[in-house]
């Protein structure tokens, strides 16, 4: 029997259609139907100046909006061959890691909600509010920050704000241990997610899973390793696990939070004085850049014609993660509730996933960029 879920359903946060093929209670196969939030962002960006396009790139995805603007700015900087001032690079690291903390906490809280564990859901959301406060202190906005510009960041940070940000991080840290233990050592919860939705390393590579979802299956890619700021000035550990089940994915996201906190501390301690923005002489050309968004690698490929954008394509992590979730994770899962929880651990973000979808004559929908890029 096929159980369709969505597009609007209590278990889903975003519009997507999940088709589960069941045999009795067991879910043997899953299929995803996209297309509900396709807005045509890349097409709108064509022929626009970067000032307009960066505003749009922030609205590819609202949860990890920050990393999109940073990657966009870095791509244009690479084309124009400019170096961003060090202070701006450090500020970018602080915002990026704050964004990662809030996104991971949101991802985990959604998972706990789908497991119907209200206590953890509430506690994790409460922790997230402190990260949101820090983001607001630094940038002035909660979600779409408008923080990056080509050549640096929009404004200098007020040094007085570093103190409360550090305090907020401390609050998150104090809560963190107990919350993590509640999940990791709580017998009922852990039993329900160990061994469910397993994706092996081979499958993760085949499904092109990235980010914490891929790293929970043993892949070691993290695009912060290799990024010029992180490589030269920061110390951090890439979190990896090998089980590849719901438990591992949730814990990978949890364990990345202390790393991010330590990165922010390093940045605030060592932040250099100086400019935060350089003038950029825009050149024509093509460049590609990859960065580690909270959900994994985001790629921007931009071709410019002087100050205008000629062609742009964006590859987001969610599309690969959701696809590998449907193909490899939801396969012989004990119940429909577990299948929905498994879907939630892949940290789906439908808004990022949908920019170009092509329907061929047989009515089969393929996502163009996934096939083209890889």
């Amino acid at each position: 029997m096929i159980v369709p879920i969505g597009p609007i359903h209590p278990a889903l946060k975003e519009p997507i259609r999940l088709k589960l093929q069941t045999e009795g209670e067991r879910v043997v196969k899953a299929e995803l139907e996209y297309g509900y939030v396709h807005r045509g962002i890349e097409k709108i960006m064509e022929g626009k100046t970067w000032q307009k396009a960066i505003y749009l790139s922030e609205r590819v995805c609202g949860i990890c909006s920050y990393e999109h603007t940073q990657t966009f700015a870095e791509t244009i900087e690479q084309i124009s061959d400019v170096d961003v001032p060090l202070r701006a690079q450090f500020l970018r690291v602080i915002t990026n890691e704050l964004d990662r903390i809030q996104s991971h906490l949101l991802g985990n809280s959604t998972f706990f909600k789908s497991m119907d564990h209200e206590t953890l859901f509430m506690r994790v959301l409460e922790m997230r509010e402190y990260a949101m406060d820090s983001i607001e202190l630094l940038t002035g906005n909660r979600v779409n920050m408008g923080w990056n510009v080509v050549g640096g960041v929009r404004m200098d940070a007020d040094e007085r704000h570093f103190e409360p940000i550090l305090k907020n991080l401390e609050i998150i840290e104090n809560e963190f241990e107990r919350t993590r233990a509640l999940f990791a050592e709580g017998p009922a919860l852990a039993l329900r997610c160990k061994g469910i939705g397993v994706m092996t390393k081979k499958e993760a590579i085949k499904g092109r899973a990235v980010g914490p979802i891929g790293r929970a299956s043993g892949i070691k890619e993290d695009y912060r390793v290799g990024h010029y700021t992180y490589d030269d000035h920061f110390d951090f550990k890439v979190i990896r696990r090998t089980e590849g089940d719901n438990y591992a994915r949730t814990l990978t996201r949890f364990d990345e939070i202390p790393e991010s906190i330590s990165l922010i501390r390093q940045a605030i301690e060592n932040i250099p004085e100086g400019e935060v923005r350089t003038p950029v002489d825009l050149k024509s050309g093509y460049a590609m850049r990859q960065n580690e968004a909270p959900r994994g690698e985001v790629t921007y490929m931009i071709e410019t014609n002087g100050p205008l954008i000629k062609n742009i394509s964006i590859r987001t992590p969610s599309i690969a993660n959701m696809d590998s979730c449907a193909k490899y994770m939801i396969r012989d899962v004990p119940t429909v509730a577990d299948a929905v929880a498994t879907y939630a651990t892949s940290d789906p973000c439908v808004a990022c996933a949908e920019r170009v979808a092509i329907t061929n004559e047989a009515g089969k929908t393929t996502i163009k960029y996934l096939d083209e890029v890889i």
């Binding site: 946060k13 975003e14 297309g35 396709h38 749009l56 949101l106």
Partner: protein, 149 residues
């Protein structure tokens, strides 16, 4: 008498369904942030469950993409009377940045269903969303209940 009791009950128990008809998610995460203990939506008798069949208030986010053109009305019809729709963010009000050449959006949402309140912002802050639900929700629902008779 019965009406009066119904009014009181309805006003203090509002069920909310978030309908994302093609936005960037920003507004949705702000709606989810409302559930956190900091804002604690449930102390106002508001309950978010994302089930249109039980909803009193539909929180619309997003700019009505192609797929939602027909579905939006369908979802609205599924919700039982009395019901109201609240547009959250610039997207359902004007289409925001997506309403330009090349974009595939059909904003405003009020072309498809009646919208009772609009909260501008990209995204609006959680307390603004809360304020709007509380401002229009209870009274509109009580009024609608009577019109039905």
């Amino acid at each position: 008498m019965l009406d009066a009791i119904k009014d009181v009950v309805r006003k203090s128990s509002i069920h909310v369904c978030i309908v994302n008809c093609g936005g960037c998610n920003g507004c949705d995460v702000e709606c989810v942030a409302l559930l956190s203990p900091r804002y604690d939506l449930e102390q106002f008798g508001i309950y978010v469950h994302n089930n249109p069949r039980e909803a009193d208030v539909l929180l619309l986010t997003g700019a009505v993409t192609e797929q939602w053109k027909d579905n939006l009305k369908r979802i609205y019809d599924k919700a039982p009377e009395p019901k109201i729709a609240v547009a959250v963010g610039n997207c359902p009000i004007s289409g925001d940045v997506f309403a330009q050449e090349g974009g595939h959006v059909n904003a405003p949402a009020s072309n498809f269903i009646p919208v009772a309140a609009e909260i501008p912002g990209c995204p609006p802050r959680p307390n603004e969303i809360l304020e709007a639900i509380l401002a229009v929700g209870p009274q509109a629902i009580a009024d609608r209940g009577r019109e039905q008779k």
